[in-house]
Symmetry: D2
Subunit: 354 residues, 4 copies
């Protein structure tokens, strides 16, 4: 018995990855894909500017794209809706969907900080899914948010360190790939032989979402972590895929580099929720010991893009820990995480929609 799913906003970069992963998924039937009006009622292959390294799955080439509107979703009656829309559109459409009673896994940034909305990075905080029952006060359906890309990568690296050694300060300077801005997001003239030290709202997202993801679930809501804080500085670089982050952090107690490594390597998943899910990588955090890794082009596809890679773990002379963490931003940082969340939702479907 597979779950019927729809991808709303199927032609952008994240939409393409969702379509690619869901079109042949062991737990899901992809029963519909939508896009903006100008692309509606045409074959997917004729309206999408396919930009992934793997080919378009044959079974979606001929699928007819629906216009993104509530009537079309109502006709399809999916069990789960994955939305990947521009924030301004997503804001309204996500809410329409949950009011109609759908279970929605949304990639846009609106509502991410709502106390009754789980912001999931499953290995880190799958248990936050339990907050969904609070949404019964607001609407019939359920809204789950996929975090910001750089944040998903960062928090997966922080989780075992926080659990084992505590955290006080985290400074992170990111070098983010072009794909994070979408297919036409960055002009080639803007970035050739250059770096752009700015991405709109990105720093606030990293700073705030990290604390929520590493926050605690109480009966009332998700309480953002208050024991530490994150300060971010973000940069767009001329790399196709893979966000590289340079992290400086202070743990509660002094800890050796070897202890940090061990905690990262041994980390497997959220302690509360069992994550026997198809898209979960066998090794969520890969630690490399070479002096010059991780590197985006060489390491971004680890674990089919679902593993993060940590390297250059070292201490400075005031006992701050420094390292680099790399993750595939449109897989681990977006669509792959969305699908993993979808699997978590599927496994707990009856609990969620009760």
């Amino acid at each position: 018995m597979k779950f019927n799913v729809v991808v709303v906003g199927s032609t952008g970069l994240v939409g393409q990855r969702l379509v690619s992963m869901l079109s042949k998924h062991q737990w899901f039937n992809l029963i519909g894909i939508t896009a903006s009006k100008d692309k509606a009622n045409k074959k997917y292959k004729d309206v999408v500017k396919w930009s992934l390294e793997n080919k378009m799955p044959e079974n979606v080439e001929e699928m007819i794209v629906y216009d993104t509107n509530i009537e079309n979703i109502n006709n399809l009656k999916p069990d789960i809706v994955f939305t990947s829309l521009p924030t301004d559109i997503s804001k309204d459409f996500d809410i329409q969907l949950v009011k109609q009673g759908y279970v929605v896994i949304s990639h846009a940034s609106n509502n991410r900080m709502d106390k009754d909305v789980p912001l999931l990075n499953p290995e880190v905080n799958a248990d936050h899914i339990n907050v969904l029952k609070l949404q019964a006060n607001r609407w019939k359906g359920r809204l789950i948010k996929v975090p910001n890309c750089a944040t998903s990568i960062l928090t997966l690296a922080l989780k075992p360190i926080y659990d084992n050694f505590g955290l006080r300060h985290v400074f992170v300077s990111t070098m983010q790939a072009l794909s994070g801005a979408g297919i036409n997001g960055v002009s080639s003239m803007a970035i050739l032989d250059n770096i752009i030290p700015y991405i709109e709202h990105e720093e606030e997202k990293i700073e705030n979402e990290s604390l929520k993801i590493l926050g605690e679930l109480s009966n009332e809501s998700i309480k953002p972590n208050e024991s530490f804080y994150v300060s971010a500085s973000v940069h767009r670089v001329n790399v196709l895929e893979g966000h590289l982050e340079s992290v400086f952090l202070k743990t509660d107690n002094d800890v050796s580099v070897e202890e940090i490594k061990k905690s990262l390597i041994e980390f497997k998943e959220n302690k509360i929720k069992n994550l026997n899910l198809p898209t979960k990588p066998s090794q969520p955090i890969i630690v490399r010991n070479e002096i010059d890794r991780p590197q985006p082009r060489l390491d971004r596809n680890e674990g089919n893009g679902m593993s993060i890679v940590v390297g250059r773990i070292r201490k400075d002379n005031r006992n701050w820990i420094k390292f680099n963490v790399l993750g595939h931003n449109t897989i681990r940082g977006a669509a792959g995480n969305g699908v993993l969340i979808g699997e978590l939702v599927a496994k707990n479907y009856n609990d969620i929609i009760q």
Copy 2:
């Protein structure tokens, strides 16, 4: 009355910039240029792989390159020798030169941390030149060191902040240009669609040299600054010229963003030594207010490559200051600073060699 100068190691990237700047300098006569044996006794234009954006000066095209050895320098009898050699060669040759009595301005990293060797970034610490007299205990000549490229750029930004508000912590994550590794330093296959999170010895240089440059001159020697510390994480990116640095810092006392900006804009030069020097930029620190600047390709040539550009000055919610600083790494960070130091030396020549 011009000073006679020689460039030792004239065919690398820094050597080329030295030759370019010194070949038509109002205070200097370029009387000789040297390179390794295989290039010696040939015309400069026939052995150099010219890599600068401006053309090779006509008056050096036909200059005959000397083999880098002490006899050739002795025949030339320069007043000042600029050396730009690989560290392992520089280590011996610089010392040979100063033992023979020459005034040497050296770009290699050896001896930079010697207590009686000034490591100069003139606007920041021109007064450190006074330590040269201590070298009379070691040799007849004088050795002056040009700092690491990323460090020169960083310390120029830190100086007014340190002077006005005090400093406790500095975290810096760098994105460094290809030219920093020399003409053939980074393979194109290594860096296309990629970042390399490692540059040998670079982090130690930034961490240690910064404290020396911002250190104090006492009768005995230069005392590294002990009031703050620097922790660095370095990365090589696919940019031709211009090191971009992401800085997080804590001042002694809380300070507003506007006060920081004011201190940077108003900063002109070292308080003790007058710097009426031809290569000194009229505005050493340029502050930009746009949300997305500085950018390497757009801002690296400010002040003919001698100004640094600071932007995105902001505070996080624990009152740490964050900003980006950019500088032209082979001009401000290397040859341009070398020439500026040469001018400082020329102006104080009699004091220095007494």
Copy 3:
């Protein structure tokens, strides 16, 4: 006595270069600049995304941008109008302007092949300006077209070869810079680690415009050259500025490589019209003898971007001539040529408007 000029479409890449060159021109007063409605009535510095390597001229920073409409031009009453508009808008607006009686130098591709419209590359065919009198049959003003960028570069190289040795076949494979597509013309994700073997309508432009530029002026009109033909294959590459073209050609009679070189080096200007014009480069064609030149980044700024650079001139074993030619596409290939044409027009102004 300077000529009053207006730049219509002043915020694109070509518009920026026009503004940059005309704002401090010895023969021209820049009395107005226009842009689309959303940018009108604001300061130029606040609406333009400045993308040139040199700074915005101070005297245009504060200029108020006019909306592009005929009333505004009528209020300004310029002697010459430079237009740099998208083709679909240019088509109508250029004609409106000439009907009103203005002398228009237009960069868009419409009307370029009209028999009474000179398509000028001044060193090659300045004499074609004489065809302008035929326009008196159509309108009060005069329309002059700037050729396609790749074509201007190619025809300048072909002219001395055609004049001296005759031409039968020209095959040209281009590698064209990003700037040719405008500031946002090529997405970074599309071109990183890639080549796009297509530019809309470009091959037809090169093939047709070349024959017109090298055509003959008769009493009736400009007759395209019929003695040879051009076949083009175009490619977009990840280079900021500078179109590199690989040319294979057959002359009427066999000719040596040295004779070709001599003809290129000695070429100065159109035989009929004297070109004592400020923007004309002293050496329109520079020949390089190194085995690996011209290269875009190293050679595109020759003659302030107005010279083309030819290299690797050789023959294959059937006596076809092969070479590479490089030119700065937004200067020699667009705005620089536009200004040069403007100067030619100014010098012959009374003849033209009679």
Copy 4:
């Protein structure tokens, strides 16, 4: 019964691909790998700078690298030796090996034009293998050459056109990837924002080898094709993998674009030798009909890098055919072709060594 094979020169880019493909090959046992003396007697994983997109095969990580000398090969006694050495070394070592009696498949350019040495691109000229018997006059072993990368890609596209419509002229302008020059072959500073219009000896290779590959086998030797000729112009571009070639050609008789397409799509293999070989792609030539393909990053991996992709097939107004052809230069153009040749050799082993 598998054939024992050795890879001589196993650490360069082509060597890495050979090792990758041969380490788990259904017909071959990889019994030894060699490299230069400084890498000998160490584990492969410790001396190779692994540069492929797929991981190093586990079964070679721990293999001990042999020094490249004849004694080591004699101890290993392989059935087939694949050599991938610098030309100057390969020249001597290949000959040593064949004199000792080995069957050698060599990637270097020496001896490629020898009349009794087959230069194989199996789908095109597998029957040329029959010339090997002539080598009995020279040595005990057999020498087979892998063609130049750009030539393998070009001749595969030319073969069906030549067979069906005849050929008179071929002009080809190449845009070649960085990997063609090896791991450290092109400096990043040389190629960023640039094109290098030169690759040593490449044009002669394309021009001469193409005629040999499309030549005829007679009793005496391979006779280069004399009915047409090739004229090449080569360029290095900032692309990781995948040579793109722009071709202008004249067939014997006029032919339609559709006929050309049909001949390319229907082409499967050499008419004389059956090629039921594991590495042969099911579709050697893929034709794309989009206006802007092939593109290196999107199309280079077709057929696991063994298919070439042809697009933009069109005619100019003198009935010349124009198209772009793309191939993966280190797979189809080098190691993949080497392995395919190895399979052809294995299938005909007894005939060859008789």
